[in-house]
Structure formats: C-alpha cells, structure tokens
C-alpha cells in the first residue's frame, strides 16, 4: 500500500478509532451491579459467580477507577454492591470504638471522639469528595497504585512473573523496605493509623467470622486464591468491621503525611504514632509508617527507642526515634531508585512526634505546594 495514501485515508483527530489512543474513559465495561441484601447474601453471590467474575463494590472510588482504566485482570462481570448494608457506623464500645466497613472516610475525619491519629489520617485522604464516597474498609483494602499494575503490564498481580516496579520507575509507589514478588506499596492512610492503634478487623466468610489483628489482615505479599496480594481477605469474603481497643490512660497520638501535591495525592511516606505515657515517661509506643512498604510498616526499633523516654520529647530523642524508624530500610537501587523516601519517612516520624506536644501543627506536608 502506498504509504502516503494510507496516511491520507487514516483517521483524523476526533475520530474514535485512532490507533494507540486510549478508549474514552466514559465507556466503562459491561457488567451487572447487584445489591446485596445481607453480608451472607453478598458472600453467597460472590461464591456462586466465582473469583474471576465478581468483585465487591461500596464507595466505588477504587473499583470504578479500575473499571474505567480497563485493567483486564480486574474487570469482573458482576459487581456486588454492599453500600446498602448496615455497615455504616462509628460506635463507642468498651472505651474504644467499632467502625463499620462501609463508613465513609469523611465521617472518621470529622469525628472528634476517635483517637487523633485516626481522624488526622482520614483527613489526609485524597479530597473531601473522595472521602465522602470512599469507605474505611475500601481505603484499607484498596488495590496498589503501582502504575505498571494499573496499566495492565503482565506483572505478578496481572498474572505474569516479573515486578516492573522493582526494575523500572519506582520513585513513588514501591517499597523502601524490600519485598518479594510484587514490590508495590500498600497505599492507604488509614491502615497504618489503625495498626498503630492495635485495631482488629472482622472478616466474614462462607464458614463463619474471624477477627484478626491489622498485622494479620495485611501481612505482606502472599498468594491468596491464586492472586498475588498483600491482604488476607479472599475474593468471596467481606471485611465487616474494625475494632479499636480502649486507649491506655495517658495515651496520645498523631499522624503526619508527606505528599508531592497539596491534595489528592498518595503518601510519599506517612507516620502514625501512639505514645502511652504514665506520669512523664513513655511506657510503650507504636510507630507505623505508611506508603513505604508492601504493608503498614511497624517500626519496631523506633518503638523500643521511645520506651522509657520522658515527655515532652527532647529534640535529640525525636531525632533518635526518627532515625530508628527507618532501621532496616532497603531502598530499591535498580531502575530509578527510591532511597530519597527513606529520608522522607524518617522526617515524617519526627514531624508526627513533634506535633503531639506542639498543638495546631499541620498534619500534611506537600513540598511542591508549600
């Protein structure tokens, strides 16, 4: 064929069939949206439609993105909608709280009774609109935001056998604490805060319910029902509730998130800290990093460093804890590399610790907009 003629006859801008052009994002795939009448009903429907054909939807901010991006491996035929189930509540419970799975993130952000670390983390999620739609369990269980996964590269999560993030662009969405198979970060802000608060989660399955710690809910990369993922909630199970135990008396907490933009951005690193203080001495501490590991990263060295220190913390102690928080960091050196986020994670810890004893500090930092 004459090349010139082919060009002249080819599609012009504005036509829908331009080679290589992404399909319009409005053309979401065909599927059925089915309202579940109970948690048991949702589980039965998921089980009968099967692992490759069904998925849970509630707030939709993650599922609809995936659907519009047309990620082949994440486009189920049946979406089971659990947003109408009575799982939307924040209830005081023996000194702590129970939070239903489909509670909108904004309700946690605006709640003045829950521990500061949790409401501050909820406030740092995306935008008010996303907070109003997205749910607590959806934030904790969201798919990773690795650009290779979300653009259908044949990586571990998409049925292949390589992690493109580990050898390519890993500046934003990949672990600085090593990994195996998939190196994509766990992205949400609420999971590290819930982990710092020693929260538990209830999962309902076909055979019954179980309640697990946050560490067991998101243990890191595993193969669950044939899928590479970081949490243990199987395709036909529903996470129904989080329980936050009563804080120890004298317990204080704070959250701090560093992101590139002033809004609508994932954490380059976040820090969730809880200090249990008796008198003026820290009896025990929880320090959990978000957005830097394949799971909420519990900084055990920083926790033991802080135990026994007196409050308000001295600048030397804050610096010591911040340095200890990134003990064992193994930033990626292949591809772009991501060692700069080790420094950011350490800084987030010092900011969070300092904010506890300096009221009215901002809880997010955005280098590009400040």
């Amino acid at each position: 064929m004459d090349e010139g003629q082919g060009h002249a006859a080819g599609p012009t801008v504005g036509e829908k069939n331009i080679v290589g052009r992404r399909k319009m994002r409005t053309e979401v795939s065909k599927f059925a949206l089915i309202q579940a009448t109970s948690v048991g009903d949702a589980i039965a429907k998921l089980s009968s439609y099967g692992v490759d054909n069904s998925a849970v939807i509630s707030g939709g901010t993650d599922v609809i993105s995936r659907n519009k991006e047309r990620i082949a491996t994440m486009m189920p035929q049946y979406l089971i909608d659990i947003s109408g189930l009575p799982l939307n509540y924040i209830t005081p419970s023996s000194g702590g709280f129970k939070i239903g799975a489909t509670t909108p993130v904004i309700d946690v952000a605006n709640n003045t009774s829950v521990p500061a670390v949790l409401s501050q983390a909820a406030n740092a999620v995306a935008t008010p609109q996303i907070q109003s739609m997205g749910t607590v369990a959806g934030d904790v269980l969201q798919e990773v935001w690795c650009e290779y996964v979300r653009n259908d590269f044949p990586c571990w999560r998409n049925g292949g056998n390589v992690c493109y993030g580990a050898i390519g662009d890993n500046r934003y969405y990949h672990s600085i604490f090593g990994g195996r198979l998939c190196y994509a970060n766990h992205a949400g802000d609420l999971a590290p805060a819930l982990t710092a608060l020693n929260a538990t989660a209830t999962i309902q399955s076909q055979t019954g319910t179980s309640t697990v710690s946050m560490e067991d809910l998101i243990p890191g990369i595993n193969v669950i029902s044939g899928r590479v993922k970081e949490n243990i909630v199987a395709w036909n199970e529903i996470l129904t509730e989080f329980q936050i135990p009563a804080p120890a008396s004298g317990s204080v907490s704070a959250f701090y998130k560093v992101r590139d933009r002033g809004t609508w951005d994932f954490a380059l690193a976040s820090a969730s800290v809880v200090l249990n203080v008796s008198g003026s001495t820290i009896s025990s501490a929880r320090v959990v990093l978000g957005g830097v590991d394949v799971k909420p990263h519990i900084a055990t060295s920083a926790q033991s460093y802080l135990a026994g220190k007196s409050v308000p913390l001295s600048e030397a102690d804050i610096a010591g804890a911040a340095a200890a928080a990134v003990d064992g960091a193994q930033p990626l050196t292949t591809g772009t590399g991501n060692s700069y986020r080790v420094t950011i994670a350490s800084g987030a810890v010092s900011k969070a610790l300092r904010s506890i004893y300096t009221p009215n500090q901002p809880t997010v930092y955005a280098p590009l907009s400040s």
Binding site: F31, I64, K68, T127, P128, I130
Partner: protein, 159 residues
Amino acid sequence: MESTLLSVNGQKYNVSLEPSESLNHVIRERLGLIGTKRGCETGGCGSCTVIVDGKAIYSCMMYAMQAVGKQIITIEGLQGNNAELDVIQRSFMVAGGLQCGYCTPGFIMSAKALLDSNPDPQLGEIKDALVGNLCRCTGYTKIFDSILLAAKERQKSNK
C-alpha cells in the same frame, strides 16, 4: 434494564439505568441537567461535583444505580421558585469568582456542602473544603472571596 426512580433536586425522575452508567452521564444525558460538567472522568478535577445525601461527591465516580433512593442536588437545584439565583451563585457573580466558568458549578456545590455544615468557615476551612476542585483560570483567590461573601450573606438572611 429496569425502570427506577431517581430523586434529583426534589423531583422524581423515572429512568431505566444501565449498571455502567455514571451518575454524571445520567444527570447530563438522560435528565438534560447540563449544569453539572464532565471533566477528567477520573474523580480528580471536581467539575462534576453534586451533593448526594448532604455530601459533595464526584458524580463521574458513582454508578447512577448506587444513587437510587438518595437525595441528589445539582447546580440547577439551587435556584429558587422564580428561578432567582442562590446566594452562593450571586456571591460568585459579585466577587468575580469565575472566569471561563467550566469549573464553577462544581465549586458552588462544594461550597454549598461546606456552608450547610459549617455556616461561618475560616479561610483555611474553605481551602480545605475545596481541595477537590480544580480551577485553571482564577488562581482561586476570588473563589475564596466569593465563598467568604456567601457565608456573610447567608448569615445575614438567616437573622
């Protein structure tokens, strides 16, 4: 496809919904309420913002079927019985809170959700409430001025 009732601006609309239709698509293409804009279609720009059960949401990121049984308010729902503009709309005109106007309905809906829950916001609270809306023309300053003015005007009319 089943016929169902969608409640928009206090009016019930009988529509047949495909599961894949976004609320934005149904509001604009089926109901003809084109004040709500379509922008990035990925839940980032805010031009599609409407209020569902009192909360500002991105209508491009919600399936219309999920909004059945909920109270939806669009920019058209702000006008009064004689088609007079809402105080927030008037404040945007008076304070010059728009240039090309494409993002404006979204900003006004976010501002309404804010002022309904917090009638006397500080500038910082206004900025926090609007981080989910993008404007490429104004530089935002006059939008903030418009909302501060709207808050004052609303308090005056409530007295």
